[in-house]
């Protein structure tokens, strides 16, 4: 049976989520499910994907399908995406939420570790976006919403490997937007400040980080409304504006910590 709420005539959107087990993505998925959207959910851990799918179904998603896939495997992307889009019967929104922070200390000592972080946060999303952008551009429709990070706005000693991958991703998105905006495809760069999720659990002061449900509500709203770059919570636009103004000679002495 459909346990859907008596919803006020919302045309279901076909939404593909890459990294659907992310805390931020899951909170978005809940609101999409509640309003009856169609979802294709991809994550790399089967048991996690399973419960996220259950939750979306129970909340009233009009359609839920899923795949368990390691998105680091770029060779598998075309097949995976084709399968997902076929299953949804088209695509209105692709939401790329995957990411890993890695251990900065580990990345400093071993390039293998740094490579994995760069690949996971930059190369793999870039591959996904290349395929998705071409698909959407051909059809002159669709929204590509991608989570990058304020960590990519300026390299800091505490997380520059992760930060540089996100910087690359942000630049990639801005270039991509300029290429395909005229084709009728929207690209939304999402730049969260610190958010309370599994990723930031062990960080100092994490109890003061932004609430994941509030962040998700802002993201869901921005995907509906449109826009190019979303800082969330909004205050991070101002904070990063200031941080970017600090001369490097001063900045290097500040050694700013957490994300």
């Amino acid at each position: 049976m459909s346990a859907g709420k008596a919803s006020t005539a919302h045309t279901p959107k076909r939404i593909l989520v890459l990294g659907a087990t992310s805390g931020i993505a899951e909170a978005c998925i809940r609101s999409w499910a509640e309003r009856g959207d169609m979802l294709y959910l991809v994550g790399r851990t089967a048991s996690k994907v399973g419960v996220v799918v259950d939750d979306a179904r129970v909340r009233g998603a009009a359609f839920v399908d899923s795949a368990v896939a390691d998105l680091d495997d770029t060779a598998a992307h075309p097949q995976l995406l084709a399968h997902a889009i076929n299953s949804l019967g088209g695509l209105d929104v692709a939401f790329v939420a995957m990411g890993t922070m890695g251990e900065q200390a580990q990345s400093e000592r071993s390039f293998d570790a740094a490579d994995a972080v760069l690949h996971n946060n930059f190369i793999a999303p870039a591959s996904l976006l290349t395929w998705l952008a071409n698909y959407c551009a051909q059809r002159h429709t669709g929204t590509l919403a991608v989570i990058s990070s304020v960590a990519g706005e300026r390299g800091r000693k505490s997380n520059y490997v992760y930060g540089s991958a996100k910087a690359g991703l942000t630049a990639f998105l801005s270039g991509l937007r300029n290429r395909i905006d005229r084709e009728g495809v929207r690209v939304l760069t999402i730049l969260p400040g610190p958010v309370k999720t599994a990723m930031t659990e062990s960080m100092k002061g994490s109890e003061k980080f932004a609430d994941v449900n509030k962040v998700a509500a802002t993201i869901v709203g921005a995907i509906d409304k449109g826009g190019d770059v979303l800082y969330v919570p909004g205050i991070w636009k101002i904070i990063m504006g200031v941080i970017k103004l600090i001369p490097e000679s001063v900045f290097k002495k500040l050694s700013l910590g957490a994300e």
């Binding site: 709420k5 419960v51 580990q106 599994a198 062990s202």
Partner: protein
């Protein structure tokens, strides 16, 4: 691979040792969790559980004991473990299945009753039993086998939980129902988290037609009038009374008897807005004194001007009047509060309640909120459940050095003499002697305890010698 330049011999280079990462439990080591009473207050590591499959892996290598916890709405120390590891379940809050025919909802244990209501009310379903706050988790509600205003007809929370999964610290996963692993089922309902982690559970919701409650409020003077009203309205679903335990003489044991039933005519079924008021900071210790409490009690009594009121109200103020202000416990300041909550058998209910009210008046300690209700005779399914047929009485005391604790001891002893028991979920003061008299089945229960799990409450009431700190290592 051929390089266009020559690589130096590797032994000329000094590399730091290769990085090895051990899988360590994700300790946050940060702010200790507080219980609702903010007393006692202990440090502990907190590990957040995001996925069912992460337990018991997240406690690998933990040496000082473990305790699963929910939203920390228990008052005393059932949800605390001094210097141990608390496994916080609130990030594990997914809905897993819902059957709109039977109303059975399956969800992960960290979901709050507030989140369940957000989902179920728009679909025309309500909680089968609810405590006086919706900010408790499904797991916490089972582990204390909580009761609501409908105990007479519905029994306690566990009566509506047909199945759950219990995960032991050795990784064993037990499906528990009244017929499958029935001992673990009974031990875990009201088992204070000590038998293992409840990972998911089923809850039988009940249909409602509207958010509204048909409400009746009736003033009474004294316990006899309370009993008379109870008899007269025996078939009303929700009943509870607020009692003024500050006033003496003519106004001794005056109160308002509150009755409610879900409105039958179809009405609005949307989810509740989020509460906006948060009690901002700790009130200074003097804020709650006899004067302010007396004023509050008088106001409350006369808020209802007529002696008998009949109206309709939303379910939020009816069930959760205190949830309007998040963290109202801060009103009691840093010193915190203790709650005293007893159940007495019918034979001693009246006499015992009056005697204890007099004892409280004598102490000069005032209480904001005193609640009096009756438990019915639907048997609880839990081995260690609190309810027994008769009176249930609860009140909060501010912690006043030299006064509160001795009073709690006297009241505990009186409860024992009158053949009643105290509620572990609200307790910070029971002695081992009192606990073991209230719950003589505790030794049988202890056989189902998980060896890695313990709580400060358990160590207090059965003695550290029995729990044996040495068996608190998780070794797998």
């Amino acid at each position: 691979m051929v390089y266009p330049w020559s690589m130096p011999a590797t032994d000329d280079l000094q590399f730091p040792p290769a990085f090895t990462s051990e899988t360590e439990p994700a300790f946050t080591g940060k702010a200790p969790l507080e219980s609702w009473g903010r007393y006692p207050n202990y440090n502990a590591n907190v590990v957040s559980l995001h996925w069912q499959g992460d337990y018991p892996r997240v406690i690998d290598g933990v040496h000082h004991g473990v305790l699963p916890v929910g939203l920390g709405r228990s008052y005393g120390d059932v949800g605390l473990l001094k210097d141990g590891t608390l496994v916080k379940t609130t990030a594990m809050n997914r809905l897993l299945a819902f059957d709109a025919e039977t109303g059975v909802l399956t969800a992960e244990s960290g979901i709050s009753l507030a989140e369940i209501l957000d989902f179920s009310v728009p679909r025309g379903f309500f909680l089968p039993v609810t405590p006086g706050t919706k900010y408790v988790t499904l797991g916490g509600a089972i582990a204390n086998d909580v009761h609501g205003k409908n105990h007479e007809g519905a029994g306690s929370f566990g009566n509506h939980v047909p199945a759950f999964e219990l995960v032991r610290s050795d990784g064993t996963r037990l499906l528990c129902t009244p017929t499958e692993n029935p001992d673990f089922y009974a031990a875990t309902i009201g088992g204070m988290g000590l038998t293992g982690l409840i990972s998911w559970a089923q809850l039988r919701l009940k249909p409602i037609a509207s958010r509204l409650i048909d409400y009746e409020g009736i003033q009474f003077h004294g316990i006899d009038e309370f009993i008379a009203i109870k008899k007269q309205y025996a078939n009303v679903e929700y009943t509870v009374a607020w009692l003024d335990c500050v006033s003496t003489g003519r106004n001794f044991a005056r109160g308002v008897y509150m009755l409610g039933e879900h409105a039958k005519e179809p009405g609005e079924l949307k989810s509740s807005p989020e509460p906006k008021l948060v009690f901002p900071i700790d009130a200074p210790a003097f804020a709650l004194n006899k004067l302010s409490i007396t004023a509050f009690n008088t106001l409350f009594f006369h808020k209802q001007i007529k002696s008998h009121v009949k109206t309709q109200q939303d379910y939020e103020p009816f069930f959760y009047p205190l949830d309007k202000v998040l963290h109202w416990n801060r009103m009691y300041g840093k010193r915190g509060l203790v709650q005293f909550q007893f159940a007495l058998p019918w034979e001693t209910s009246k006499e015992g309640t009056i005697a204890m009210l007099q004892e409280i008046t004598k102490s000069g300690l005032a209480s904001f909120l005193a609640v009096l209700k009756t438990f019915g005779d639907v048997p609880s399914l839990g081995m260690m459940s609190f309810p027994m047929p008769g009176f249930m009485f609860a009140l909060d005391f501010p912690i006043k050095p030299g006064i509160t604790m001795p009073l709690m001891q006297r009241l505990g002893d009186m409860t024992k003499e009158y053949g009643g028991r105290l509620y572990s979920a609200k307790d910070a003061c029971m002695t081992p002697d009192q606990f073991q008299a209230f719950y003589p089945q505790w030794e049988k229960f202890a056989r189902f305890k998980d060896p890695a799990i313990t709580s400060s409450f358990w160590e207090r009431v059965v003695g550290a010698s029995f729990t044996g700190r040495s068996v608190r290592t998780v070794g797998r």
